[in-house]
Amino acid sequence: MFQLGYLVRKLASLLVTLFAVAVFNFALFRILPGDPIRLLARAGNLNAEAIQRLHELYGLDQPLPIQFLIYLRNIATAQFGTSITYQRPVADILAERMASTIVLLFAATILVVVVGIVLGVVAASRRGSRVDNGAVVGSLIFWSLPTFWTGLILIFVFGVYLHVLPVSGTSLPGVTHTSWIAHAIDVGRHLALPTITLALVDIGQFVLITRSSLVDVLTEDYILTAKAKGLSRRAVIWRHGVRNALLPVVTTTALYVSLIIGGAIQVETVFSWPGMGRLMYDAVLRRDYPILEASFLIFAVTVVLANLLSDLLYQVLDPRVRQA
């Protein structure tokens, strides 16, 4: 489907961007703050031997370019240093937390895409109606809500007052479940509030983008052609309209990923969801720089990869830009 030349170019571009991210990370966490030792370990309780080990590990007395190469090597071998707080390899900690965050992001994205697109389509196809105006105003309001505050409110309403959903952790602590279904349901109940909180802001954005995109598409000539063919209104809107309207939406993928990561950090914090977001929050409180550095790198790489995927997806969806 894709020409080899195009894929090669895309890959090269990806490598360049990843390299730039590494440079940026290096500059941010090693060069700018001045004294890296301060960041790599709590200076107070370091003896000469520990300092020596750090020097070896990171090549701190070497010239900067060499340090950078060592840095790259460390990244490639998943050697992200040792956490100051937990005194364990950062890579291990990340590995443990990643699954929880991925589950949360996945669930939220499904909710955002489904609800956002459906509502956006309904609003656009009934432009000017109360449904449409309500959808637009509602989306603008959702867009203004700080994710963390929404989480706090939901905890209040559903956790403290109504007491129907759990508000922290991934599952009930100290309970062993008889079957994996019971376990899945437990996790699901714990997943409910964080997912809804995370999805809310982005649903607002999705609705607005889908709606305005579809409103544009519905003015195109081929929509009238579809109607002239005798297609029902629903078929015209969904088969001909939405298919074209999704194209601009795909281009906002990178922005979406950046937003949802930011939201995940807040949601995991508020709901004590043990993922990478919560990890970053704790690391900030305790100034655990090795974790901060590694987390930032992972998030940045994720956005870059998401960008690439959305480019490829756009190629698939829009025949006009395909490299013939």
Binding site: E220, D221, Y222, L224, T225, A226, K227, A228, K229, G230, L231, S232, R233, H240, R243, N244, L247, L317, D318, P319, R320
Partner: protein, 321 residues
Amino acid sequence: MSLLEVEDLSIRFRTASGFVRAVDRVSFQLERGEMLGIAGESGCGKTTTALALPRLLPETAETTSGQVRLNGRNLLGLTEREMERVRWREVAFVFQGAMNALNPVFTVGSQILEPIRLHEPETSEEAARIRADELLEQVGIPARRGREYPHQFSGGMRQRVMIAMALACRPKLLIADEPVTALDVMVQAQILELLRRLRTELGIAMILISHDLSVIAESCDRAIVMYAGRVAERGSVETIFSRPEHPYTRALIGAFPDITGERVLVDGIPGAPPDLRTPIPGCAFADRCGLVIDACRATEPLLRPMGDGHTVSCHLAGGTR
């Protein structure tokens, strides 16, 4: 019974500044296998009339009176559901400017298949695909190009695709709105030739809309000349072009240079069409007519038969030239 009978059709548009009477009591008939041309300057209501037939007008349009009878059945009285079955199967439309009339993300072949699958679901996949291929060949496009996308075709070829697509369900009536306007002269000739050939081979009745009289003169059997939403003159192409009675028709014909005739100065028609928001008491052309008399502004001229199916709406028809 004629294939198509349009009787007293009036359409107005809701706008911010009031109602615009785009079509005013238009009537005409079309027989099976006949090609009818609708001529007039832009804004005269010809496209609106055409779109009204398969009921494709936008929400802002209201049909205030009239009937559109296809084989005796008034299309204006049908529900939307019933219309969906009439569209394309009985009345197909080729739009003005095929540039954007084709969906850019679907292959050309699939867009031709779509109405077949919709209106004739009992047709097998295989049979449908064969028919789509044949349609492409019929309009002069190699069948294998059905796998390509609209942007890979030139303007003229896209128009052919539109025509192939329009024939997919073997309609009784094909309406083509300015089918050759955006194309260069050589391609124009090819497309018109194609339409004529298809009409002869398949016996489809056609309505051809154009502001370009030469297009209508070349291909149509009969023609209507519209002005300001009203029918100015109606008749066979031969009659209208050799013995035009309405001053507007004469001016229109005079406005197009004739390559074979004498060297004449081309007369543009001075003035502009009237504002369609206000009702016009007399003849709509009165302000721009060289032969205007008082009666023209006072009462609206009715369509007067001049014999041979030729009708004119002018107080002076049949009189001075």
